[in-house]
Amino acid sequence: MIIDINFIGLIIASIMASAVPLILASCGELITERSGVLNLGVEGMMIIGAISGFALMTVTGSLIIAIFGAMLAGVLISTIFAFLTQTLITNHVATGLALTIFGIGISAMIGKNFVGIPGKEFPVLFEGLKNTIPLLGPILFGHSIVFYFAFALPFITSYFLKKTKIGLIVRAVGDSPESASNQGINVRLVRYACILYGGAMSGLAGAYLSMIYTPQWIENMTGGRGWIALALVVFSTWNPIKILIGAMIFGGLTIIQFHMQAIGVRIPVQFLTALPYIVTIIVLVVISRDSRKIRLSTPSSLGKSFHKDN
């Protein structure tokens, strides 16, 4: 049997494509968490991004407006979270859960009129180069701009946190808000910005799903990806480069599941669908077992409210 080398390339490319929303949402959440804020509303922000992107694309016909609109929707919805947790000092976990419940409800409400409408084709770059290099061709070329952005994002995020002054400020706020505040840093402002950034990235992740990955609107179409993105941040021990690895593993699980069904492996489909969730749990256990390592890499003030007495 001859296996076409380009076929392997296509499979790898499809794994990468399914990793895109996870990378985007995780990298956004990573910045939020690095500033000391735990936003469990990723799933809610993502689904809001998905419906906003799809709705704007259908109504305006402009892909650019739709993509940026989805990011803006993510920002807007995360503003609720930021206002509650930072200005009104509410509990991060409960507020994030409320955000997810609210987001799923609102998205279904808006999405009611968009069910069953076919999506639009999203332009891809370097389509012509796809067949020029065996194996690497389909991996490197013929993808959307969001795809390329997602794979650059972990490196940008890493550079931002390690090498830039603002990145240093974000880390300082997350590790010790008291001393950052004493240095004259406006902790609340930094955290607001990081939360809104996380919202924008989750919104983009959602738009990728509804506009590029499976161009249509289905209720609850994020299907737990927001939660897996949250798990990926823990998996990465707050290191953006490792998010890339984790997202590829989960992308791989999703894709392999499709192929196993296609070649007729006699495992119940439900088991294959459950695999990413089960693997997430196993991975979390393996990573978290070393409690010292986790403690060292977790932003020290993660999930704790900070309030400066006037």
Partner: protein, 354 residues
């Protein structure tokens, strides 16, 4: 001029008043949303919150929906009070329903007084088993219970799906994804002729009484309170932290499992794909709205149950999408959390000097 001042200690009166404020604000915001959607706000709110419970049947439906919410929220309050974030009650409900449903199917076409207690017990055990996974992983492997319990929700729904489509599906059921109907001895008795409210409500009420007793009259309740307040203090006092974590998870798993039993042996009478309209998630809101207090949770479960009924009524009579219920639930929690600000801070009016 108005100045915001920190209170010396949280106000107790406001602690129980803010849920009422939150509900009021939710109604205002809900009216606004209806207005934006192009409905008359007052009429829509009336269809949402008053029409559904205006008659005897509606009231029975309200209690029917409030029962699982109350039961799960009581269980969750054990976890939340002691700082354990079990957000996978939906999964524990589903797994409890699977185990008890399996047992009920074993007694297919058999009758006997002993069947129902066994079925109920099986559900509680199922819920406990499923809740023990995040508990054990948290205590012995330091794994985040939020993510684990949530991932398990998806897994449990897929297990249920597999069973009702595959091995447990009704052989005479024309391939519908559902099991056989349970025998009458495996069903909870109805309380009134013609109404759907069933004996499961007594399980919820028992949970309320027991939890009140545990919270306020036992050493365990005190330990939970201290651990919730400060884990360091709890450690210093020498409490067995691990044992308590596992215990509160088991309790909340059992409650969620029982809620699952109540659904499948009550109004449903068999297993199929959709045994719970996210009661397990909504109960998180109920627990907070009830201030983790058993009596508060009773009221909160009734209030939140209306959002389920209201969503259905509003959909039928006004073509308002049924997800409005979820929007309302999210808003209640937002407003509740926001109004907690009043617990710790107060507005002081300072007369401006001329």
């Amino acid at each position: 001029m108005i100045k915001i001042v920190k209170r010396d200690q949280p106000s107790r009166a406001i602690f129980f008043l803010t849920p009422v404020l939150a509900i009021f604000l939710t109604l205002v915001a809900g009216g606004l949303i209806f207005y934006i959607l192009g409905f008359k706000p007052f009429e829509a709110l009336k269809f949402f919150f008053i029409v559904p419970i205006a008659d005897k049947y509606g009231f029975s439906e309200l209690l029917l929906k409030a029962t699982p919410l109350c039961l799960i929220a009581i269980g969750l309050s054990f976890c939340f009070k002691s700082n354990n974030w079990n957000i996978g009650a939906e999964g524990q409900l589903t797994f409890g329903a699977i185990v008890s449903g399996g047992v009920a199917l074993l007694f297919y076409e058999q009758e006997g007084f002993y069947i129902l207690p066994i079925v109920i017990l099986a559900g509680a055990i199922g819920g406990m088993l499923y809740a023990s996974i995040p508990a054990i992983l948290k205590t012995y492997f330091n794994t985040n219970e939020i993510l684990v319990s949530l991932m398990l929700v998806y897994v449990s729904k897929l297990i249920l799906d597999y069973l009702v489509v595959g091995p447990w599906s009704n052989p005479e059921g024309f391939n519908f994804p559902e099991t056989r109907q349970f025998s009458d001895s495996a069903k909870l008795p109805l309380l009134f002729e013609g109404l759907r409210i069933h004996a499961g409500i007594f399980l919820a009420l028992a949970a309320v009484v027991i939890s009140w007793f545990v919270f306020y009259k036992t050493y365990l309740g005190f330990q939970m309170k201290v651990s919730g307040f400060s884990l360091k203090t709890a450690k210093y006092a020498g409490y067995k932290g691990k044992k308590m974590i596992i215990l509160v998870f088991l309790i909340s798993g059992a409650c969620a499992g029982l809620a699952g039993v109540g659904e499948i042996t009550g109004p449903i009478g068999q297993l199929h794909r959709e045994i719970s309209p996210d009661y397990g998630f909504t109960a998180i809101i109920v627990a907070f709205l009830g201030r983790l207090h058993p009596v508060g949770i009773i009221f909160a479960s009734l209030v939140v149950a209306i959002t389920y009924l209201g969503a259905e009524t509003a959909q039928i009579f006004m073509q308002i999408p049924k997800y409005t219920g979820q929007v309302f639930q999210g808003m209640i929690l937002f407003f509740l959390l926001a109004s907690d600000y009043l617990l710790f801070f107060k507005f002081k009016f300072i007369g401006s000097k001329k």
